[in-house]
Amino acid sequence: MFDLSSRQAKIVFFAALAVIGFFLFFPLYWLVISSLKANAELYRVVPTPFPTMPSLEHFVRALTTGKLPMYLTNSLITSTCSASLVTLLALYAGFSFAKYRYFGRQPVMLFMLSAQMFPFGLLLISIYPMMSELNLLDTRPGLILSYIVFALPVSTYMLYSYFSQVPDELIDAARADGASDLRIFHTIVIPISIPPIVTVFLYSFMWSWNDLLYSMTLIVSDEKRTIGPGLLLTYLNEVNADWGGAMAASLVASAPIVAAFMFLQRYFIQGVTAGAVK
C-alpha cells in the first residue's frame, strides 16, 4: 500500500486526488449549472461560475415541448428488456460454466469473451447486414438483440466468477436432500446470488441506456428512437445548438440511472467486490 506517513507524501497524494476529482466532477458541475442558466447568461463570452438567476425554463421546455418523454420511454423499454434478457441468459450460462464439467466448456467461454476484443464500431459493420437480412432493422427487438450480444459475454463472465465461489458442498447438500439440478439453481443458488445478479442487471442496463452508436444506426424512425440519439438530434444538429436544453435533458436522462444506482448501490458494491476478501 501507499506509505502516507510523511507530510509531503500526503500533499502529493491529495493533490493527485484533487486533479482526478476535478476532471471527474467538473463536467457534471458544468452540466448542472448550465441547465439552470437562462440563455442570455449561458452564451456570455466569459462564463459565470454560478447561475446568477437560476431558472428551470430548460427543464420545463425539455419535458413539455420536446419528445424527451417519448425517447425516455423508448430507452426504458429497450434497456429493461435487454438487461432482463441478458441477466436471465447470463445466469444459466454462468452457472453451467462454473459448476459443470463438459467437453468444450473452456473454448466456448473464451470464444464468447473474444467478442469483446473487437471495437464495437467494427462489429456494427457485420451486425447491420445481419439485422437487415432478418428484417430487424428499425425494430426494437433488433436493437435489444444487438445489446444482448454485447452485454452477454461480460455478464456471463461476472456471474461465472461468482458462481465458481459458491461452495460445492452447498450444492451437494441440496442434491443429497433430493433437489434436481434446476431446482438447486432456482431455490439455493439464485437466492444467495442477489448482489451479482443486480450488478449484472445494472451493467447491461447502463450499457444500453448510454448507447449512441447502435441506436443511431439501427433505428431510423423517430418514434422508436432512444434517449442518446434523441438528445443529439433534438438539441445539437445542423440547424441549432440548444445547449441549455441539451444540459437539462441530459440531467433528466441520467436521473433513472442515478436513481437506480442509489437504490441498488448496496447490492452493486457487494457484487463488484464479492470474493475480494476471504
Partner: protein, 364 residues
C-alpha cells in the same frame, strides 16, 4: 436401519484411480469410521456411498438392493458435511425441512418432525434464525438436525467436527455418541482425528492410497495392526520404529543404542520393530533389556509427560510416555527399557509378523 455392502468399489477421475477395489460390509446399526491420511480416498468413498459421485466399477447394495444408479435422495441416506453446508438464505426450520418439502411431505408433518429433531438437539429456540446468526456449534447441530429429520436408513458424516474448536469438538463428539445410542441407525463417519474414530466407532476402516489397509475394532487396530502403516497411523503419539541391524546370537538383533530380543518362530525375516510410547520406560543406563540414549526434549501435558530420547550412535528418536509428575532432565543419559512382549515386528514388505505380543494377547 440398513446393512451396507460394498464390493470391489473402484473410482477413477480421468486416468487417476482414487479407489482401488474397496470391499466392506457395514452391519445394520453399526458405526463405522473411515480414517487415513489426506488424499487416501476416504471422503471420495463417502461421496460414492451418498450417491454424489458415480461409481466407476463395483457393486454397492443397501439391504441387499443394488443402489449403484439410485439417486442420492432415493437411497435413504443423509449426509452431514464438514462445512455444515447450511442454506444461508433459509431459516433453521427451513433448512431442516428442505428435504421433506422436496419429497412432498405435508406441512404439518414437516413442522412436527423439525420441532422434534430440534428439541432433541436443543436448537428449538433458534428455529427462526438464519445460519449466520448461529455459532459454529449451533450450526453443526442444525446440520445434524437436517439429517435426522429425514429419518434416513444410513447417516454419513464427512469430518463433521473438524471446523469446531477443541472444547466444542469434545462436546459434539459426546452428542454424536449419544445420537448413535438413541437412534441406532447405521452410521459411516469420515475423520482424520483418530480420537474421534477410536471413541465413536464400532469398527474402523484404515484407508491408504485408495486401498483398505485394515478393518477392525478400535482395540484390534491398536493391539494387532496388520502392517507398519496401520501401526504408525493408529495411536498418538505414533509408534516408535527401529531398523534392525545384525543378528546377535539366538533371537537377538542389534538396534541403535543396544540390542533387542525377538521371538524365534517368526514366519519371515524381520527388518524393523515398532514399540508404542506407552510400552517403553526410562531406566538407568545399563539396565537389562535397555537401549542407551540421551533425553533431548520433554513435553509436559499435565496428565502425561513425553520424553524424546536420542538413541546412542544414531539419529533415531524414541518417544517415551511417562506419568505427568515424572521429572526428566534434558541432556540426561538414560536407558530405554523395551518390553519384549510389547514389540511389533515387521518384515521387509511392511507386514506385521506374529509377535510375542500378539501371542500373549491371544492367550489372554
Amino acid at each position: 436401519m440398513a446393512k451396507l455392502e460394498l464390493k470391489d468399489i473402484r473410482k477413477s477421475f480421468g486416468s487417476a484411480e482414487v479407489l482401488k477395489g474397496i470391499d466392506l460390509t457395514v452391519e445394520d446399526g453399526e458405526f463405522v469410521a473411515f480414517v487415513g491420511p489426506s488424499g487416501c480416498g476416504k471422503s471420495t468413498l463417502l461421496r460414492l456411498i451418498c450417491g454424489l459421485d458415480e461409481i466407476t466399477s463395483g457393486k454397492m447394495a443397501i439391504d441387499g438392493e443394488l443402489v449403484n444408479d439410485v439417486p442420492p435422495a432415493k437411497r435413504g441416506i443423509a449426509m452431514v458435511f464438514q462445512s455444515y453446508a447450511l442454506y444461508p438464505h433459509m431459516t433453521v426450520a427451513e433448512n431442516m425441512g428442505y428435504a421433506l418439502r422436496l419429497a412432498g411431505t405435508p406441512k404439518q408433518e414437516i413442522d412436527a418432525r423439525v420441532s422434534q429433531a430440534a428439541r432433541k438437539l436443543r436448537i428449538d429456540t433458534y428455529l427462526d434464525r438464519k445460519p449466520r446468526q448461529l455459532s459454529g456449534g449451533q450450526r453443526q447441530r442444525v446440520a445434524i438436525g437436517r439429517a435426522i429429520v429425514r429419518e434416513p436408513r444410513i447417516f454419513l458424516f464427512d469430518e463433521p467436527l473438524s471446523n469446531l474448536d477443541a472444547s466444542l469438538r469434545v462436546e459434539m463428539r459426546i452428542e454424536i455418541a449419544r445420537m448413535k445410542d438413541t437412534l441406532g441407525t447405521t452410521m459411516v463417519y469420515v475423520t482424520h482425528d483418530q480420537i474421534e474414530a477410536m471413541t465413536l466407532a464400532d469398527k474402523i476402516v484404515v484407508l491408504n492410497s485408495g486401498r483398505v489397509e485394515q478393518i477392525g475394532s478400535p482395540l484390534d487396530l491398536y493391539n494387532k495392526p496388520v502392517n507398519r502403516f496401520v501401526a504408525g497411523f493408529i495411536g498418538s503419539p505414533r509408534m516408535n520404529f527401529l531398523k534392525l541391524g545384525a543378528r546377535k546370537g539366538e533371537g537377538g538383533f542389534a538396534v541403535p543404542g543396544g540390542e533387542v530380543r525377538l521371538p524365534r518362530d517368526l514366519s519371515s525375516s524381520p527388518v524393523e520393530i515398532g514399540i508404542r510410547p506407552e510400552h517403553v520406560e526410562l531406566v538407568g543406563r545399563g539396565a537389562p533389556d535397555s537401549l542407551a540414549g540421551i533425553v533431548t526434549m520433554t513435553e509436559h501435558l499435565g496428565s502425561d509427560t513425553y520424553a524424546y530420547v536420542a538413541l546412542e550412535g544414531s539419529e533415531e528418536m524414541v518417544v517415551v510416555r511417562l506419568s505427568g509428575d515424572r521429572a526428566v532432565k534434558r541432556g540426561e543419559p538414560i536407558g530405554v527399557h523395551v518390553d519384549p512382549a510389547m514389540i511389533h515386528v515387521f518384515s521387509a514388505d511392511g507386514l506385521s509378523l506374529a509377535s510375542a505380543r500378539a501371542v500373549a494377547l491371544e492367550a489372554a
